[in-house]
Amino acid sequence: MIYWEIFLAFFIPGILGYGGGPASIPLVENEVVTRYGWMNVQEFSEVLALGNSLPGPIATKMAGYIGYDVAGIPGAAIGVFATVAPSLLLIIVLLGILYKYKNSPKVKRMTLYIRPVIGILLGVMAWRFFSESYEGIGLWQTVILTVVSYLLIERVKLHPAFVIGGALIYGGFFL
């Protein structure tokens, strides 16, 4: 049953991929290329390359396209559902429990304790994006884009949508 296979192929990476969508990509490749043989490595990496240059979460783009490729629109729907639903249900249930006790000093302390961890995680992500940019388009382009976008977002208080739009146009012409 192809739909069941699609469900499993994306359910397993969704449940095992700690660290967000990008962390689950090797797991998806394992299911799609090695286990089910729906694509070869070459095809998979082409899909991944395009997925990386389009906006939006990567895991669902991969699931949607591969599901579609294997079994049409129902396949796409099942692939996306299997990727998204399990972890989403889990977080809704867990946060529901947590907020039932939100006035307890223990829960307040939880919020306080994890804040520095979130700070570090975001900081590391920021660093990763900076270094990816440095490797991709070089020091000067990175510095210019960084300074200009900082000024526009934080000083001029422009909505990021405009800054990202501007960067897309700039990149389309000059990079």
Binding site: P57, Y65, S87, V117, I153, H159, I164, A167
Partner: protein, 193 residues
């Protein structure tokens, strides 16, 4: 109806602007949900982010789904998730079935490259906001020590963030409260023995 439209627009923007996978959408979600529509406080967003990072699966849809659910129930959840993923999945299917060679996407990659530093700036700003909040909440010395310890655990010892967050949550749970409650007696007895 207005709320559903707002949810849709907020997460549609997030989905269409987040270049570089799910994590790049975190500062965009923050912008929409905390700054623009005020559906959540900074604290709640922090909790959500922490738990989202501890659980498996893509982060962007976990954020979207939970926030949609909080704002207007199951339909809000479905709306937010679809708005996040639907446009780009469709785009992907159309591009891959209409173009025959990967070389034809080169211009797409040039555009994306310029967005990466913008996302980095937004992430860095959000980082600073969280560090500031932590400093005000528990004092700068304690924050500084915790930041350093977490950084070393995460970057040099390669310990998974989920484990660190889970450990801190358990610590917060078992630490004795300053204003005694009914359960503190039990904890104290255990501590003495």
């Amino acid at each position: 109806m207005k709320t559903h439209w707002n949810i849709f627009i907020a997460f549609f923007r997030v989905g269409m602007l987040g270049y570089g996978g799910g994590p790049s959408s975190i500062p965009l979600v923050h912008k929409e949900v905390v700054d623009k529509y005020k559906w959540m406080s900074e604290e709640e967003f922090g909790d959500l982010l922490a738990l989202g990072n501890t659980l498996p699966g893509p982060i962007a849809t976990k954020l979207a789904g939970y926030i949609g659910y909080r704002v207007s129930g199951i339909w809000g959840m479905i709306n937010a998730v679809l708005a996040t993923i639907f446009p780009t999945v469709v785009l992907m299917i159309i591009l891959l079935s209409s173009l025959s060679s990967i070389k034809e996407y080169d211009w797409v990659q040039g555009m994306t490259a310029a967005v990466i530093p913008v996302v980095a700036v937004m992430l860095a700003t959000l980082t600073w906001q969280f560090v500031q909040k932590a400093g005000k909440g528990m004092g700068w010395v304690q924050t500084g020590i915790l930041l350093l310890v977490v950084f070393i655990l995460l970057q040099f010892l390669q310990i998974h963030p989920g484990i660190i967050i889970a450990t801190l949550l358990i610590l917060a749970l078992i630490k004795k409260d300053k204003n005694p409650e009914q359960d503190t007696a039990v904890t104290e007895r255990e501590g003495d023995s």
